[in-house]
Amino acid sequence: MANIKQTPIRESFAKRYRARFGHLPWFKRYECLIPLSIIILLIGFLLLPPLGKPTPLQWLWIGVFLILLILWVVGILTDIEKPRWIRAIAAISFVFVLGFFFYRYSGAQWDKLTTNFFNLSVMEGLWGDLGQGLLMTLKVALVSMCISLVLGLVIAILRSLNNPILNVFLIIYIDFFRAIPLIVLVVFVFYALPFLGIELDPYISAVVAVSLSYAAYVAEVIRAGIESIYRGQVEASRALGLSSMQTMRLVILPQAVRVVIPPTTGLMVGLLKDTALTTIIGLPELLYKGIQNTIWQSNPTPLVAAAVLYIIVLLPLTRFSGYLETRSKKWVKTAR
């Protein structure tokens, strides 16, 4: 190292401080964290306003309290040397305080929570109605799924023929339906087309709009799947003497299907979610029923119930599609 000039090292204040007090940054040290927690507790018990909408000055105290709390939590959670139970306490108290503040200062009348949001007596006799809405949602979703999958597959196959003239029309189709917000399309089909003499009832309008829109997405996903198959695969199978149909059937499709299924599942879950948009044209699906009953009962319990039903149906499905996607990523990694 003789040929390299030795430059003097500038000692910063932080360096000198750390040389004296050890390397832990100040906000992670117990000397700092313990007084901080005492201050936080003091502010929390003495200065925070009671239940109800706070005044501006009280808001300021809430802000100071939150900033100190965040400092405290970050100081603890970013330090892997702190014991587990302290980290767990920090995380829980952080979430708990946020929830508690929302409870206390959002100005909500929590005493009305059960009568307004979870009022089971209001729901009496409405479950059947909501159930019918859910059935309609599922019906629209299933029919649209079938149509959009078939249409998307046809478009993807036509696209894979690589005909320049046909591609112009297909790209126009795909770009158009991917760019237009689905709700605009739904409104357009139901409200604008009748002026042209094309009158479709809400159910048909919903199916047409949703299918046309999702066919474009499906087509793109399938095309990406086909293109993702490594070119060497085609060459290898042709070299083995497989015909182009056999190559497609035995080599490309089995691989493409594995690549395509996870994103397609995600799309279909999205489709099911998006059927809620058709409520705007008065299709009696789940959300529409929830809102109708909310208006009739002048109590939002039916809407809350509809939301809960959506969550119950959709949460497992989103989880499932997410699971498929992570699994396929792993699969792609091992294949490469």
Binding site: L77, T78, R87, A88, A91, I92, V95, S106, G107, A108, Q109, W110, K112, L113, N116, F117, V154, I157, L161, N163, I165, L166, F169, D175, F176, A179, I180, P181, L182, I183, V184, V187, F188, Y191, A192, F195, L196, G197, I198, K273, A276, L277, T279, I280, L287, G290, I291, T294, N299, P300, L303, A306, A307, Y310, I311, L314, L315, L317, T318, R319
Partner: protein, 354 residues
């Protein structure tokens, strides 16, 4: 088939009947010009027997039309999928399928095409002022709606990104207790349809005493929804960085924060940009949902104008405006995505070379 017409195989074995392909070449029957020409003539003839103009009344007629279209599609598909057919023939086939589709739609959709210009492209109604008690023209109203749409998207994107980043950073602390709550948050907002959440916030919360204005509810809904997606994007970006990068920086004596700032984030941002861009495009599209809570953004303005004017031209114009903005944005985001894929490939090749 007469056995004596067949040239006997040189070995003179029991193989007396040559296969069809040996006689007529290897082209399968459906790709032969004899077949395609015949089918073309048949389709041409059948075209004269299709039902007359107007919406068909019976299902049987619908099926008839569908079968005809599928037959044309079949004919076109054969030509396009055969690499040995000349290019001009493929071009004709491609144009033909589009023409036939357009013609069938024109004939049987039941649309009154004479009303097309009056109903859909009625620019006079759009530019006239004062026709419905308002002093401004419908155009100006639509542009005002567009401006509100863009503002909604802008604020939702800003807040959604900040919130998503915070969630991703908290996720990155790998604290099991915190992760539990974060997973609930992300799962909930990914599972619930935006429109349902918006209705809940706008129509149900006031019963609890929490009354938010339309714009605030809209931005809040879009922010909450996108924070879930954006945090997942950021998390994937951070996780995509190879662990060797962290080790190398720690071995050089960089602190955790320096490693994050100098090594992880610059790399993660490149990974994150394409999915983030397409997420922003989706958010701009989702602002249209705000029309259900009486925000006069582009779609709601168009619907209102349509019912005032009893003419769907505003809706056509609004659709055109959406497309005008969203198609370039969607294209841009897919360019970003493709560029990253290409870079990934070149990098993989480079490392293979090395």
């Amino acid at each position: 088939m007469m056995p004596e017409m067949v040239p006997s195989p040189p070995t003179g074995g029991n193989k007396t009947r040559p296969s069809w392909r040996e006689r007529f070449g290897h082209v399968p029957w459906f790709r032969r010009y004899e077949f395609l020409g015949g089918l073309f003539l048949l389709l041409l003839a059948l075209a004269f027997f299709l039902p007359p103009f107007g919406r068909p009344q019976s299902t049987l007629v619908w099926i008839e039309i569908a079968v005809y279209f599928l037959a044309v599609l079949f004919w076109v598909g054969i030509i396009l999928s055969d690499i040995e057919k000349p290019n001009w023939m493929k071009a004709i086939a491609a144009v033909l399928i589009v023409l036939v589709f357009g013609w069938l739609f024109y004939q049987y959709s039941g649309a009154r095409w004479d009303k097309l210009a009056h109903a859909f492209f009625n620019w006079e109604i759009l530019s006239a002022t004062g026709s419905y008690g308002s002093t401004t023209s419908a155009w100006i109203e639509l542009l005002a709606g567009l401006w509100l749409t863009l503002q909604l998207a802008f604020f939702s994107i800003i807040f959604g990104t900040v919130l998503g980043l915070i969630l991703a950073v908290l996720r990155n602390l790998h604290d099991p207790v915190l992760n539990f709550f974060l997973t609930i948050w992300v799962d909930f907002f990914r599972a619930i349809p935006i429109i349902v959440l918006m209705m809940l916030i706008y129509y149900a919360f006031p019963y609890l005493g929490i009354t938010l204005s339309g714009v605030v509810s809209g931005v809040l809904t879009l922010t909450l929804n996108s924070s879930a997606y954006i945090s997942e994007i950021f998390r994937a970006g951070i996780e995509s960085i190879h662990y060797g990068q962290v080790e190398a920086s720690r071995a050089l004596g960089l602190t955790t924060m320096q490693t994050m700032r100098l090594v992880i984030l610059p790399q993660a941002i490149r990974v994150v940009m394409p999915p983030l861009a397409s997420n922003y495009v989706a958010m701009l599209k989702d602002t249209a949902i705000c029309s259900v809570i009486a925000i006069l953004e582009l779609l709601k303005t168009a619907i209102t104008l349509q019912s005032w004017l009893a003419n769907p031209t505003p809706l056509v114009a609004a659709t055109a405006l959406y497309l005008l903005i969203l198609i370039p944005m969607a294209r841009f985001s897919s360019v970003l995505e493709n560029r990253m894929k290409a870079r990934g490939v070149s990098r993989a090749l480079a490392s293979k070379k090395g």
